[in-house]
């Protein structure tokens, strides 16, 4: 039976960062995930914002978000991940909002500036210069946010982990955990695995894995929907200035992506389900109402998608040993802003493992993953030749060489290629490229077209 120092259940942003930090310290790690690609759980459907703080300010969430936010600059640099620092602008678009602006400014200044995030008032003219597509009287600006290409982050982490020796068992579901005195055995759909320590980073399923080790926590699903526009509408994250956001009206922000699109959302839908990733007309209506009046829309809606937040019954992140053994660290209920907090969560998990007896070696230098895509080269005015010049997706300038790089990087599904390369994510939503992409991916991966899947098991594309 394969034996590792640590088995991590879940290859979302949390599991990947834990595996990355562990493997940098010479620990032998395996990551198990039921999906065919890393990061296809909750981490696939978020908004890609690195937040600052999160009310309530005393929560673990808030503390870890602040810490995680600060850790990201180094991490992004180390991995060469695409990201951009920016502000969040809370915009007063009507008189009522303008009236509460001074009060809110004082409150935010007090709360945020003590934690290191600058707060300022943006007047009407300045707002017009800063955000020509935003309609508003004035705004409160909070510094310290960032947007990240979250797929770039996930796949760079995955590649870095692999080159540091982490063994990935993808398409492998954990069906049971046995905790013994000196080791842990996990049962999976592909056979058993043994490890000295277990990290449960199973996202929406973290309650199930926890229960297998005697730890009780309930995790519910809270859906959030987002709309994607094919052009940039804003330079910063923009949201209406409101004092209290309730479920049903909460709607996130207008978010510029690092690749030139705009996301509206996410909202917080009524009801709870861990399975339903569907987008509903009422969710879209909430978003259109919330932002429609404050944004001069540029571009058109090219996509609507939803993600599910794993929210714990404690209302906060849960990071705890199992009562049966300190060899098990549970990370459960990592809803928003879990992406932001993830690097800080990884540090806590490492510390807990160390305290439970895991030996951590000296930090190794991570591998350098910097490489340019065809699009990068064209933007830089460089010439491209050979497969680098055979463009498959003209909207996003994705070439045959980019697809080959995705395959080398471990893409096993068409979505895996799409998320790694941005193929089919442009204005024409794949009409000119998906056919060829399927054929080329099939050829490069050595898989017949009828066995290529879009994302999950059973998601066949052609027969």
């Amino acid at each position: 039976m394969e034996h590792y120092d640590v088995v991590v259940v879940g290859s979302g942003i949390v599991g990947l960062l834990v595996a990355y930090e562990l493997s940098k310290r010479g620990v032998s790690v395996t990551v198990v995930d039921e999906n065919l690609e890393p990061g296809f759980g909750v981490s696939k459907g978020h908004a890609g914002v690195i937040h600052v703080i999160q009310p309530p300010f005393s929560s673990l969430k808030s503390v870890l978000a602040i810490h995680g936010n600060r850790l990201y600059d180094r991490l992004f640099g180390e991995l060469g991940v695409r990201y951009r620092r920016l502000k969040a602008l809370l915009v007063a678009s009507n008189i009522a909002q303008l009236a509460v602006l001074p009060l809110l400014y004082i409150v935010l200044k007090l709360l945020y500036e003590t934690r290191g995030f600058k707060v300022s008032i943006v007047g009407g003219r300045e707002l017009r210069d800063l955000e020509p597509n935003v309609i508003g009287w004035a705004a409160i600006a909070v510094d310290g946010y960032a947007v990240v290409d979250s797929f770039d982050l996930v796949y760079k982490l995955y590649e870095a982990c692999r080159s540091l020796g982490v063994v990935f068992h993808l398409g492998t579901r954990v069906t049971g955990v046995k905790v013994s005195q000196d080791h842990i055995e996990i049962e999976t759909t592909q056979g058993p695995l043994k490890a000295s320590f277990l990290v449960n980073a199973a996202g929406l399923n973290s309650d199930y894995i926890a229960s297998q080790t005697g730890f009780k926590v309930r995790v519910e699903g809270r859906r959030g929907s987002m709309l994607v526009f094919d052009r940039l509408q804003v330079r910063n994250i923009v949201a209406p200035l409101v004092l209290l956001e309730r479920r049903g009206t909460k709607g996130g922000g207008v978010i510029p992506t690092t690749w030139g699109h705009t996301i509206w959302g996410p909202n917080l839908a009524r009801g709870t389900s861990k399975e339903d990733r569907g987008v509903y007309h009422e969710d879209v209506a909430v978003l259109l109402r919330r932002f429609g009046e404050m944004i001069r829309v540029k571009g058109r809606i090219i996509k609507a998608y939803a993600g599910i937040r794993p929210t714990s019954d404690k209302g906060d992140f849960v990071i705890a040993y199992s009562p049966t053994s300190r060899r098990v660290v549970n990370v459960a209920g990592i809803d928003s802003p879990g992406l932001t907090a993830a690097p800080a969560i990884a540090i806590i998990v490492l510390d807990m493992l160390r305290k439970a007896g895991l030996k951590l070696g000296l930090k190794r230098r991570p591998p350098s993953l910097r490489g340019l895509s065809t699009r990068d080269k064209l933007v830089l005015g460089l010439s491209v030749q050979g497969d680098e010049g055979v463009i498959v997706c003209p909207c996003m300038s994705v070439s045959l060489a980019d697809i080959a790089r995705a395959v080398r990087g471990g893409a096993r599904t068409l979505d895996g290629v799409i998320f790694r390369t941005k193929l089919a994510m442009g204005s024409c939503q794949g009409q000119h490229c998906l056919g060829r992409a399927l054929i080329e991916f099939s050829r490069m991966a050595g898989v017949e077209p009828r066995y290529v899947v879009k994302g999950g098991e059973g998601s066949w594309i052609v027969e």
Binding site: R300, I302, L378, S383, S397, S427, G435, L438, E463
Partner: protein, 313 residues
Amino acid sequence: MDSGVITIAGAGLSGLMLARELLDRGFQVRVLELRRRVGGISVIDEDARRILDKLSDIPVELEKAIVRVGGRTLAVSRSGVEEVVRGITATGFRVLSPAELGILGDRPSGVFPFHVALDLTMEGLSIGRRIAIYGYNRYSVLLAGKLLEAGAREIYIIAPEKTPAKTPDHIEVLEGRVRRVRGVARVESVLVGDRILEVDTLVIAMFKTWNPFPNFDVVGHAAVEVYEPQALVETSKLLAESIACESNERIEVVVEGDIRVYPRVVRRCLKRILIARPRGGRVKVNGVSVDLSMGYAVVDIGGLSSVRISVGG
């Protein structure tokens, strides 16, 4: 790239026809095509094929894409990158996205934009067994025929608007709007109005014009929503005539209602213009009634100093 050369983006029916018309008038042209074949979506259209056959001598550079990066327009291929100075967009229709059409729900495999369904079928791959095609037009009907030939068991064409009395007898046409897609891994059903249609595939065959290269002139489906091959040919002829005009002097064209006029800028030397309206009907051109039951008409404007077009008549 030599600024004297006109680069045509797209070797579909209108791009090739435009190349022929410009070559005949003594211009230097090159035709660039993203795909490894010519013909665009007209390859499944018998009427268009007859015209395409006559254009098979036009040289086309295959696997050469035009892209816009950082404000520049580039032709990119295996052999390198060239800046395009003077280009014409002939890249065809844009397929509307599900989100734009108000189709929400799950995001399983099996929802194809028209072109992808066509490309895969042309490669001999089968995109599904029970297929709904959203959009009722020449191309959706042609694709349905092609898919039946390729072994699809059931095909439904879904028409968002009232259909004419006579529909093709080999295909079921349903009226209604597709509102949701359901399916975990693969499409399991689509909601059409209040009816659940159990299919494993949804093809979107609703189109709009689109020019991805704003500094280029535009021809064919990229410029006008028409569904007759002959209409595409006409746009190419009109653009070539317009490009050949010696003077830049224009005539004024005033349009009322949902009518499109091609070319958008009408030079005085142009003797004819194309009027398009996908819904058909009749229009009045300077008081004279014109039939648009084919979705378009080419009308004579020779000698007129201004043109006024309105719906009705």
